[in-house]
Symmetry: C2
Subunit: 456 residues, 2 copies
């Protein structure tokens, strides 16, 4: 983990201008921790730290900065320095930097690239956003089936400095079609004069460059592999994506799910770095939409104002009833959204889950209905007790079932129409459950208590 | 991904009793997919599939079954078969199987283990639950600094079948202290007569066996490593944990966060497999606690029954005001819980974030307050309009700020007292925000509208 002590020490040394000690300290630190420390510094100091690093660590450190800081640093560097950093970034990190730029800036930065890097970057940026193509690096080691292990190992040694990872060596035909992925370990265990094809088992996993990165997460997670091959639609090997990049994607995707479920939409930036104005804009939209939903709640209540005036005790139970409905709905929506995201449940399971959720909700509703009807008995006193108990008991039963069904089905319906199930945010479920809860509650009350009929 | 076609085909072949085709189909399928398919079958068929597999794939497939199915399968196997499956499980998968058993069953299963496996399993189970020790496998390849690369490679070749992964080779001293972790690739690139110590850079990551597995997730995620060394407190290498196991842990931990945030507590089993009774028990607890909170809402309203009877229009705005407070609170709680979980924000940041959240909430509150006061103007009509607009506008401003502050601070406070911040579930935040919202709303109404004073 980020050693807080290390970061504080580094800052102290920097501010004391003890350059030699700074260099020594930086040598001890991991690039991830240096990048973290840079986040705590002033822009000028950040530049100082970067320049105090040996050339090859500059780029590594740069790749771990947040996109906001990457932009700031590169803007403040001399052009020759910026060129060097961009040239030395590995292709997937370069794509990550470039894809966060505004279109007008992108052009300026592309001008800084070497011709071969420019060509490669344009190709990688040509894949759809959030696709595997955007994540992959075209640096991999490929051998032919007809080679001997000795020749393959020579080739691996030669290419190892270029390749990002060689835990897997890929076997391709002369036209680049992926034939197999073989563990480096197998090359070491094999006899030197054996043919590469004798190591092949044709058990390998690959994904198309245009595929969504979430698919890549699922393949790597499911099949426990370290390196996933990315091909074009004809099976020609284009690049590889390593598990560490996939873990970062998985974390981001999960964060997006959390944020959607919490009703903020996706931020796509660190909460630390988000400005208040940005957070305001992200959050106000959903809140205002929910205001509209809740206005319907108000209108529903207004319909029953006569009933409320006749039996003011009904208002006592109003927050309890509608909140319980929303709470049951939040529970089931959260369970469903997560289970859909991890692949634990799938669309085709909806009927089975609907049945299960219904029986759970029935149990929850009966328990809570009984509890609240006791309160109704007490609250209603001798004259109104029995009737009020019935009203609130049945209303609770009905709204809990309704809320749970809503929370369970909405994510499924969204998924069915290829929308993100997490859009069924808990605030949305709660607000819709409020409206329906009010209507159910007062309808039951009107039926049992023979109250003035609603005003439409 | 789980090929649905494959699974259906397998089931069809099984039911047609075409044993040869079943064997052939199984040969093509990945063990993960076979395990998945087994989940869709009847217990007898499951056993049939397992027995149709070659011995070494039986254990692999078994390790990918859910804990419920593992138990069922092992109970149905002959004792000799069960012994063999347990003997061939890799140590970390064996720990995972054993730790899910009830204490009385555990004893019976331990009896099936070979003496050396029993000793090892007891040792691994001796580490705290959810610790790195429970996840690790003691199978790793270690070499000495004084060896030549050639000798080390011989040793690696010899041990490779035992070792779970050899992407990293560990360098230890004669007493087992971990000195370094060197990539297998470096051994291949090095000259055969070079010493192992010439490959060492002493840049490696390790974690203690007693450490929480979430720490392991953070180290692997942060430093992009495939294999994490696990040591005792003296730095003696005990085992390794690979990134695929860590990804599974990360997924589980995130699922727990989702479930807590959604107000269900943690399930610890797949939603598909959870029985209705289990789901009921998990969910009813929180719902009943929330009923108590919501009862306070009811009591708060009852205090203001006089005010409501005097100005029944106040009830129209009640759901809108209290829901908005809960919605703003859900947004900020979700953002905070996730940011704390990913390490994006830390405890020490609370003051900075509090300031930021306050300014965001102020913006949200003003916008929503203005919107709702327009509705108040319309709803109140010529006599009451201005006053009602003021009441609902100010109330909205106040409750949105209150909700957002509550949602932001509660996770921090829980974390401060070493509780899981996700315990600040959105239903809890919503329900508490309801109570406070009602009090704020009617207090403001009483102040502005000069209504009957509350009945305590």
């Amino acid at each position: 983990m980020a050693e807080k002590g290390e970061i504080i020490e580094l800052i102290a040394l920097l501010r004391l201008k003890r350059d030699e000690d700074v260099a020594e300290k930086l040598e001890e630190m991991a690039v991830q921790d240096i990048a973290d420390a840079m986040g705590e510094l002033e822009p000028e100091e950040r530049l100082g730290v970067l320049r105090a690093l040996p050339v090859e660590r500059q780029t590594d450190t740069f790749s771990y900065l947040t996109s906001g800081l990457q932009r700031e640093v590169i803007d403040n560097l001399e052009q020759t320095e910026a060129r060097r950093v961009l040239a030395e970034l590995v292709p997937d990190d370069r794509t990550a930097f470039l894809e966060n730029l505004e279109p007008e800036d992108l052009e300026n930065f592309l001008k800084l690239l070497r011709p071969e890097d420019l060509k490669q970057s344009l190709k990688l940026l040509g894949y759809p956003e959030e696709s595997m193509g955007r994540l992959m690096t075209p640096r991999f080691v490929a051998v032919r089936p007809s080679w001997t292990v000795a020749r393959a190992l020579d080739h691996i040694r030669h290419e190892a400095h270029r390749g990002e990872t060689i835990n897997f060596v890929f076997v391709t035909d002369e036209r680049g079609h992926l034939l197999d992925a073989v563990k480096l370990k197998d090359f070491i265990l094999a006899r030197q004069d054996a043919k590469v094809e004798s190591l092949m088992d044709e058990e390998f996993y690959s994904i198309q460059a245009a595929a969504d990165r979430e698919e890549g997460v699922q393949v790597i997670q499911r099949y426990d592999i370290n390196t996933l091959a990315v091909t074009d639609k004809n099976g020609v090997l284009l690049g590889i994506v390593t598990v560490d990049d996939i873990m970062d994607v998985a974390e981001q995707e999960t964060t997006e799910d959390f944020q959607k479920l919490g009703g903020t939409g996706t931020l796509n930036v660190s909460l630390r770095e988000a400005t208040p104005g940005f957070l305001y804009r992200k959050r106000i939209g959903w809140l205002m939409i929910l205001v509209l939903v809740n206005l319907v709640s108000g209108l529903s209540i207004a319909m029953f104002e006569g009933a409320i005036e006749a039996v003011i005790a009904l208002v006592f139970f109003l927050p309890l009833i509608i909140a319980s409905s929303g709470n049951a709905g939040s529970q089931s929506a959260t369970l469903m959204v997560r289970a859909l995201a991890t692949g634990d449940v799938e669309l085709k399971d909806w009927l089975r889950l609907w049945g299960k959720e219904f029986s759970v909700a029935l149990g929850l509703g009966v328990t809570m209905g009984l509890a609240v009807s006791l309160i109704g008995l007490w609250r209603g006193g001798p004259e109104l007790g029995m009737e009020l108990a019935m009203v609130v008991g049945f209303a609770m039963l009905a709204v809990v079932i309704m809320g749970a069904m809503l929370g369970m089905l909405l994510p499924f319906i969204l998924q069915r129409f290829n929308m993100d199930p997490a859009t069924a945010s808990t605030p949305l479920i709660t607000s819709v459950a409020d409206v329906l809860g009010i209507l159910i509650y007062f309808s039951i009350a009107s039926a049992i208590l023979t109250l003035p009929s609603p005003v439409a």
